[in-house]
């Protein structure tokens, strides 16, 4: 079988053609998919907000602004109300903060829900992580119902408990109850073999809530 000759000219031409084709293919794919991907991200963001503050109305989140702490992934925080934003009788049920922390092998993005005084963590949801598969990724693992044999025989009971256990344990914890002794938080169960991931999430949650409380809530109204 014959191959194209190895001349300088042919090498440059072929490489250039392949790279150009690759570039075209990639940008075409990007154009075709970027809107959908952005829509997915928005959906995930809204879903995270609803998960961390279930007592808020799904349409009762109002994006307020940017807090500039290092733990704010984009600075976004939201006021959460019990009724849709159009309802003037709505009451504040808490705040939702978007925070981040340096994990073992990735930045971990966490959405944190707090009560109106930012004293109590109402819940968290990890929205992005690329930690070690099988170890750090267990921060999103859901405990299975029943044993392997139940699953194979179709006997699993669906109790609807589908929240990752690691994240669920942050619910209803006061922000001042997060005390570290040595390198270990006393009030949460860590991930096996993934201390860095565990601490990254907890550090981010605590820092975000504390920063929010100090900088935002205590600032005089009108300067927020």
């Amino acid at each position: 079988m014959s191959k194209r000759e190895d001349t300088f000219q042919s090498m440059i031409v072929v490489l250039a053609v392949i790279c150009a084709a690759a570039g075209l293919g990639l940008s075409a794919t990007y154009l075709a998919t970027s809107e959908r991907i952005a829509a997915q991200l928005l959906q995930e963001r809204m879903a995270a907000l609803r998960t961390v503050l279930p007592e808020a109305h799904p349409d009762g989140f109002s994006e307020v602004g940017a807090s500039k702490s290092a733990f704010a992934v984009n600075g976004r925080y939201y006021e959460a109300y019990d009724k849709p934003l159009t309802d003037s009788s709505r009451k504040l049920v808490g705040y939702a903060l978007e925070a981040q922390g340096s994990g073992y092998s990735s930045m971990i993005a966490v959405t944190v829900g707090t009560d109106p005084r930012a004293d109590v963590v109402k819940g968290i949801k990890i929205t992005f992580q690329q930690e070690t598969p099988g170890l750090g990724t267990n921060c999103e693992a859901v405990k299975a119902e029943g044993t392997l044999w139940d699953a194979l025989l179709g006997k699993t009971k669906k109790t609807g408990q589908s929240a990752p256990w690691f994240q669920a344990q942050f619910r209803e914890k006061r922000s001042d109850s997060f005390v570290k002794v040595g390198n270990k938080y006393q009030n949460i169960d860590g991930l096996t073999g993934a201390t860095i991931t565990t601490n990254a999430v907890a550090d981010a949650v605590v820092a975000a809530v504390n920063h929010f409380k100090e900088e935002i809530l205590k600032a005089p109204a009108g300067s927020r």
Binding site: S2, M11, I18, R36, G134, T147
Partner: protein
């Protein structure tokens, strides 16, 4: 070689992990749970097949001395396009695969098959070879995942197997992975040597 033999080769006789010893990094990294193993294996198979087909299709047009950069560009582009489409149209699968998808670009097996086989054979043969090698890789990761998750966490696919089993934690950490891989490699080497002895009698 018949078409069937082309496919079958990658499964056992020429298994990319246990015989050719390629792709050990992703095998070890993703074998801490069966679920991850399945995801990684299928994603890698898809990419190997796709890149084999494309490399085979363009093999006559590529000058010899720039073939490696050409293959790498093709593979990386293919993976990125797959990533973008999955992110847009199959977000759940995309999230499940997570970091494994971009990792496939540096999976030695893909480049190995492109250079050793797809650049020298027809498209159909390359397609079959891609499936064989991909499934061979998948079998290897599954085997390791079965052992490591079963012993290291006491679960399979997340479900506990024997209630009350105290898991051997080290199996899901790197030392356990290397131990398991070493023992499996030794076992398969021994079997190959034995069958060679048997044939030369």
């Amino acid at each position: 070689m018949s078409k069937w033999a082309t496919f079958r080769d990658g499964l056992f006789k020429n298994n990319p992990v246990f015989v050719v010893n390629l792709g050990l990094c992703p095998t070890l990294a993703t074998s801490t749970s069966l679920r991850d193993a399945v995801g990684m294996g299928l994603a890698a198979t898809f990419v190997t097949v796709g890149s084999n087909v494309i490399v085979s299709a363009i093999r006559r047009a590529v000058p010899n001395r720039v073939r490696i950069p050409c293959y790498v560009v093709v593979i990386a582009t293919f993976v990125t396009i797959v990533e973008l489409f999955l992110g847009a149209y199959q977000p759940d699968l995309y999230k499940a695969l997570g970091i494994f998808l971009p990792l496939i670009v540096v999976n030695c097996i893909v480049l190995y098959r492109a250079e050793v086989y797809a650049s020298k054979n027809g498209v159909l043969s390359s397609l079959l070879d891609g499936f064989g090698m991909g499934f061979g890789f998948t079998l290897a990761v599954l085997l390791l995942g079965f052992i490591r998750e079963g012993l290291g966490k006491g679960t399979l696919m997340g479900y506990p197997v024997i209630p009350g089993f105290d898991p051997v934690g080290i199996m899901v950490l790197p030392p356990g992975g290397f131990l398991t891989m070493g023992l499996l490699l030794a076992f398969f080497s021994w079997r190959r040597l034995k069958s060679k002895e048997g044939k030369s009698r």
